[in-house]
């Protein structure tokens, strides 16, 4: 019924249906199985219609988001609009021990649930597909409110909370599944939204999520690869900035970049790695060298380009950027200092345009 009437509903009936469905979706502390799939599908068709999505007020938005995330992560499901995890800033803590126990706790908790649920149920995947839809609404409260001049601390935004949820999700389910793609898409939406508006939160969240994204790099799915490219493209300029690297005592960013760069020689060998660019795709003409998209000083993208080819191009650009970032001389000095402080053996040696060197190291170490 909902699918047929979605275009005819105005605001009040929509909200009524919405509230009714939300309440019936949850039974006890989990999703009510008999109705779950149908209600989830009905909600999705409702919310895919943009005016309804815009009509959703912040309260209901938060509630639905909370339900979706609880289902995905195996937490007890409640109708509540305060579902953010308590965020501990692991990056600033001196030793890695605290951080590890935290993640271990979450992993065991998630792991127990994961064992119970060996495959992702259809209802869950429907609810997960709701997440990118909700995030694409312009009313989504991702950014924190502007700081009040009387307030002593800044409220953290929902954007960061969502990134933390995603981080937990990746910890629980490291191997690829069908719901990874919508999760990645929602990650990119959130990242793009907070990129220029809440830079600190981007750095905090990004550092958590980066190693997990790198772990997914060897995927076969083109959709996931595309989303990963976008995520790295957003995160790297901020995470390789000197202020971020100062905070990164564990060397998370360096390690992630090195692992990515090490995949370069293997790219051509795997069937689903990138292939080199074809000249027929390019238009060779001398440009003015300004940093415009899909243009260099010598060539620009021409016709015959397809999504595949553009993904390749983006990947090559990203790799070149990473090679350059790894060779940042200021970061080099900082890393040497921090390596001396934490007494870790520097597994990587840094210099400009040094990826060849790392590959030699990696080859030597086996």
């Amino acid at each position: 019924m909902t699918e047929r009437s979605v275009h005819l509903l105005s605001r009040k009936p929509f909200l009524a249906i919405f509230t009714h469905m939300i309440h019936l979706l949850v039974y006890g502390s989990a999703i009510f199985p008999p109705t779950a799939l149908d209600y989830a599908k009905a909600l999705r068709s409702l919310l895919s219609y943009p005016p309804h999505l815009e009509n959703l007020d912040q309260q209901s938005w938060k509630v639905l988001m909370g339900i979706c995330w609880s289902t995905v992560l195996g937490d007890p499901v409640t109708i509540d609009d305060e579902w953010q995890d308590a965020f501990t800033d692991q990056v600033d803590e001196p030793g890695p021990s605290n951080g590890r126990t935290q993640t271990a706790d979450m992993a065991t908790q998630g792991g127990a649930n994961y064992l119970k649920r060996s495959s992702v149920s259809q209802a869950t995947s429907e609810l997960v597909s709701l997440i990118p839809i909700l995030l694409s609404s312009t009313a989504a409260p991702l950014l924190p409110p502007l700081p009040d001049k009387d307030a002593y601390h800044q409220e953290s935004s929902l954007g960061l909370a969502i990134i933390m949820k995603i981080h937990r999700f990746f910890t629980q389910q490291p191997s690829e599944s069908s719901i990874h793609l919508p999760i990645l898409r929602s990650l990119n939406t959130v990242l793009a939204e907070i990129e220029l508006n809440c830079r600190n939160e981007l750095v905090l969240g990004g550092m958590k999520v980066l190693p997990q994204l790198v772990a997914l790099w060897g995927t076969r799915s083109k959709g996931i690869r595309e989303q990963l490219l976008i995520a790295f493209g957003i995160l790297l300029p901020y995470l390789t900035h000197k202020s971020a690297l100062e905070r990164d005592k564990l060397g998370v960013v360096r390690e992630a970049l090195t692992r990515l760069v090490e995949t370069i020689p293997r790219e051509a060998l795997t069937r689903w790695g990138i292939e080199p660019l074809d000249m027929a795709v390019l238009r060779l003409k001398l440009g003015n060298g300004s940093n415009q998209p899909y243009r260099t000083r010598v060539f620009a993208v021409s016709r015959n380009g397809s999504t595949n080819i553009l993904t390749r191009l983006a990947r090559i650009r990203l790799l070149s950027r990473m090679c350059h970032d790894l060779g940042d001389p200021r970061a080099l000095r900082r890393l040497l200092l921090s390596a001396l402080q934490t007494r870790r053996h520097p597994i990587i040696c840094y210099s400009n345009s040094n990826y060849g060197r790392e590959i030699c190291e990696a080859a030597k170490s086996g």
Binding site: P276, V298, S353, G356
Partner: protein, 479 residues
């Protein structure tokens, strides 16, 4: 400091490791490394130090001697990219250059000159050869335009090349080949000795062997040049000044997908990002850089078509070449059934050819030379041939976009849209400046009026020709 010397040692080791990696395993792997290197050179040259510059240049020059044509091809593209970089790109603050001694300057230059000479010789040799022709031309063009080789050397090589072009020239007028030939002919014209050889005739003879219908990739695949390239080449052969018209833009070629959207958004907000991350504020453009359209041609009575010079010599030959190409297209379309499904690329190629022909005739008229009516008639006839097929609605949206965009040079004047977020507002009332402080030209509102890119000239001339009128081209108005 110990860290710095350690860094230098590691740099040498790392770069030598880079060279060995370029000579690595499979062709695909080496190509990927080379392409990553080229992108790094393009975007991040400024933050690499001098030894890295030299080593990268050496590595790219070495790929020119490789056995695989694909690597040589990309090596030439790398050479072209390197040639566009100047000393200033390597040192944005200018400090290093100021402090360096003249002997250091000379040493830097000498190291480079050997590379450039080798690259130039290689490129000139490869321009006539089929798989490398495009890349070699862009490399040679880049070296020429950015003055990486001396004029003497350039003239010495271009002379024999142009003289034998009708016998052993490039296989096809690609985009970069056209641009290189234009630059080469301009250089030859400036030299006393070469001027007397009338090398333009040789180029026209070479162009006469161009099979427009087949193109370089067959009838149904888009060719690697645009009408603008061809018209510029023809114009240079006939010693006519070329007028701009709408060319292929990058934005229209991009398909719809998530990553393209992200890249475009990133480009728009790049100024903001640089400000947030690096505290960089873009420098204001000076108003003098705004180009004023050339006034040389505006005074002649070219728009009316009276009192014109007779069409002869090279102009006639060039018109004949385009007429012949148009004729082959018309015949091809006359043979096929109107109900048969044609791929959109075929239609677009035909439209491109018609645009080339008509634009060249318009250029002739703008220079006061009478036009070749046969050519114009053939152009219009070709468009009429395509019309029934194009108007059928069975093409997908990208296909339709491809076809209709082909007519853009004839009808469309692009407006400049701002591409990125402004960091600093231009001076105007909105930014709080009174109107009487700065000279009138410096205000933002003044720029809006003075924008005449000269693109309309070709269109104005074309639509005023007696044989060209909207009713003769489109029989039934669709919109």
């Amino acid at each position: 400091m110990e860290g710095r010397s350690a860094k230098r040692r590691k740099v040498d080791n790392a770069l030598s490791a880079l060279l060995t990696n370029l000579e690595g395993n499979t062709l695909a792997s080496r190509l990927i490394h080379l392409q990553v290197l080229i992108f790094m050179v393009d975007r991040h040259w400024g933050s690499l130090h001098a030894e890295a510059h030299t080593a990268i240049r050496q590595a790219i020059i070495d790929t020119l001697d490789d056995e695989y044509p694909a690597l040589q091809c990309w090596g030439l593209v790398g050479v072209a990219t390197l040639a566009t970089l100047t000393y200033h790109d390597g040192d944005p603050s200018g400090l290093v250059l100021e402090l360096a001694s003249p002997s250091r300057h000379n040493a830097l230059r000498q190291g480079e000159t050997a590379h450039w000479t080798k690259a130039w010789a290689h490129a000139m040799r490869k321009v006539p050869m089929a798989p490398l022709s495009r890349a070699a031309s862009i490399a040679a063009l880049s070296l020429l335009v950015h003055a990486k080789i001396s004029i003497v050397e350039a003239v010495r090589d271009i002379g024999p090349f142009l003289r034998s072009i009708d016998i052993s020239g490039p296989p096809h007028p690609f985009d970069s080949v056209c641009a290189f030939l234009t630059a080469a002919m301009n250089l030859a014209r400036a030299d006393a000795q070469l001027y007397s050889l009338n090398l333009e005739d040789k180029v026209l003879a070479w162009l006469g062997r161009w099979t427009a219908l087949e193109g370089s990739r067959g009838k149904t695949r888009m060719d690697l040049n645009t009408p603008l390239d061809m018209v510029q080449l023809l114009g240079t052969c006939c010693q006519l000044q070329s007028y701009p018209f709408v060319d292929l833009t990058v934005n229209e070629t991009l398909p719809d997908c998530a990553i393209v959207e992200r890249v475009m958004v990133e480009a728009e907000t790049q100024a903001l990002r640089r400000f947030v991350l690096e505290g960089h504020i873009p420098t204001a453009e000076s108003p003098i850089t705004r180009k004023s359209s050339s006034t040389a041609s505006s005074q002649s009575a070219t728009l009316d078509g009276h009192s014109q010079a007779f069409l002869d010599g090279r102009n006639r030959l060039a018109s004949a070449i385009t007429a012949q190409a148009l004729d082959s297209f018309c015949t091809d379309f006359a043979v096929t059934e109107t109900t048969a499904v044609s791929p959109p690329e075929r239609l677009r190629r035909a439209i491109d050819m018609a645009v080339t022909g008509l634009a060249f005739q318009a250029t002739l008229q703008l220079h006061g030379i009478s036009t070749d009516n046969t050519c114009i008639q053939l152009g219009i006839q070709l468009i009429k041939c395509i019309q029934p097929i194009a108007l059928s609605a069975s093409y997908s949206i990208p296909g339709q976009h491809l076809i209709w965009r082909g007519l853009a040079p004839l009808v469309y004047t692009p407006h400049e849209t701002p591409e990125s977020w402004p960091i600093l507002l231009k001076p105007d009332v909105n930014s709080g400046l009174r109107r009487d402080i700065l000279p009138p030209g410096r205000y933002a509102s003044a720029e809006v009026q003075g924008r005449d890119s000269g693109i309309e000239k070709i269109q104005q001339v074309l639509w005023r020709m007696p044989s060209v009128s909207p009713s003769s081209i489109w029989r039934n108005k669709r919109y």
